[in-house]
Subunit: 333 residues, 2 copies
Amino acid sequence: MIEKIRLAHGSGGEMMASLVAEVFYASLGGNIKDANDSAILDLPSGKVAFTTDSFVIDPLFFPGGDIGKLAFCGTINDLAAAGAQPIAVSASFIIEEGTDINDLKHIAASMGTVSHRTGIPVVAGDTKVVDRGNADKVFITTSGIGVIPEGVDYHPRNIQEGDKIITSGTIGDHGYCITAMREGISIQSSVISDCQPLHELVASLTPLASEVRTARDATRGGVGMVLNEWAQQSGKGIIIFEDMLPIKEEVEGGCALLGLEPIYLANEGKMLFAVAPHKASEALILLKAHPTGENTAVIGEVVGGRPQVVMETRWGTRRLVPTPSGEILPRIC
Amino acid sequence: MIEKIRLAHGSGGEMMASLVAEVFYASLGGNIKDANDSAILDLPSGKVAFTTDSFVIDPLFFPGGDIGKLAFCGTINDLAAAGAQPIAVSASFIIEEGTDINDLKHIAASMGTVSHRTGIPVVAGDTKVVDRGNADKVFITTSGIGVIPEGVDYHPRNIQEGDKIITSGTIGDHGYCITAMREGISIQSSVISDCQPLHELVASLTPLASEVRTARDATRGGVGMVLNEWAQQSGKGIIIFEDMLPIKEEVEGGCALLGLEPIYLANEGKMLFAVAPHKASEALILLKAHPTGENTAVIGEVVGGRPQVVMETRWGTRRLVPTPSGEILPRIC
């Protein structure tokens, strides 16, 4: 019946109650329904990871996902990067007046689909509506709680010289997919976003215990950003090898055309790991055995010297891979 | 040096790192700094409350607070309403390009002030920047985790016939304060927002155990909204007495002028309780003893009959207090 969001949908009254029931409860299920402002969780004792992220992506829908799936997976992957098994997610929606309610339903449904598939519930939420022109359709902020198994500590301070740097698959897919849409070249593109939850992939490395030094999902700023942070946080140098980077042919070609570097493009379904050298091949086997890790590859290693990232090019030369500065790609996640 | 937010401040690169350091770490301290996407918390075993809320208030600054203080207190109070003692908060900022960085610093500082005063850390955060015209200055989403003491269960299903309805102070202050600003009558107004954390106030009732049936902070939709939800969730009727409602004279007069009902105005520092009748006077003493509960008052009781809210007016007549419908007051919180 209602088709466009009106201000009254966000004002806490009856219209809001019906919006929440029709759009959010319908897709996100009973957990959120009983939440009564706070959800009550029974947590096993131990260390808990807690994370938050806002998603302001434009466009809302893209090949391989939409802002709902992205917001859910993004928070799951932040928990996974801390070595945590996700327990629950919250989702807060800021909606622009005039937004199509069918778009909202679509977004809530795709969030609900990943939630049901992973068995990780959305337990708390909020909805605010702002007047037209004061937001861009829909922004979503998700937060998550996860439990960290005994003995797991993935802080980058654990990185040691000699560790192998591993990516769980091809790099730059999400960033390229969104850029291609914006540039109007997506119609010929077969690249879809890699948006997917990675907590099971990370859990598959639990048997390696502290031989897995650290993990991080390479989102905004891409692999280049994460490796620079690792170099800074560990005080170690990192070298990566250009010809070992798994990059889809089309992403590589498109990036050359658009003047972008795949290494700085956002990923939404790829995890980077630093693993002790004598366990790297075992890690590769474990990761490749998981559907989300088929294209896992070693791309570099931790070295002595200055805390910076260096790339050895195809031609054997070396160049610095600096922290990206300025506008990487706005609203890519 | 930098004065206005630019898109590059949100893109994950160096400019963002300096913004985060200069604005957020400076005020919110070291806890968030080490967060590394996820914060790692040591929680005592037991039940955990988890909540989230987005704040889209306009204007950002108001007498008695600003969006930063509001976002922090709002989440603390949601946890408090679940009977939880807050452990940690996350804060995610969506910022419009062109926003004054001094405004952001002010907002982060006032969030930091409540955080330090209460001892509840902001442990995780996120910053996104959207292009001009795609957000209205600053939106903040806060989430929180709290630990619920053994035996505490404040779900509204516990409400019983005969329970007294208690408010921890005057009603409508926050909603009136914001409305007065918008209507341009704030210059003669002495009413400031009641924005304040209430977790200690709620904790003062712990000795009454399950004689405190439920609690809720009366934000969007005000006391009228909360009581209607309680009636629905408990299946009981609720009667309130107009002459027992603590309302500031100016709020009452201003509301009459503006055609508003104080009972539907948002509060940001008032808690409602349902308490077993034989413990109501003890609850009053405990609440009044706390600085945030000075004006605590019994305003009604739970009765049989239909699950609805009725007000007995000053003249002895009775009228229904329905769930507010349509636009209450947009962007009041």
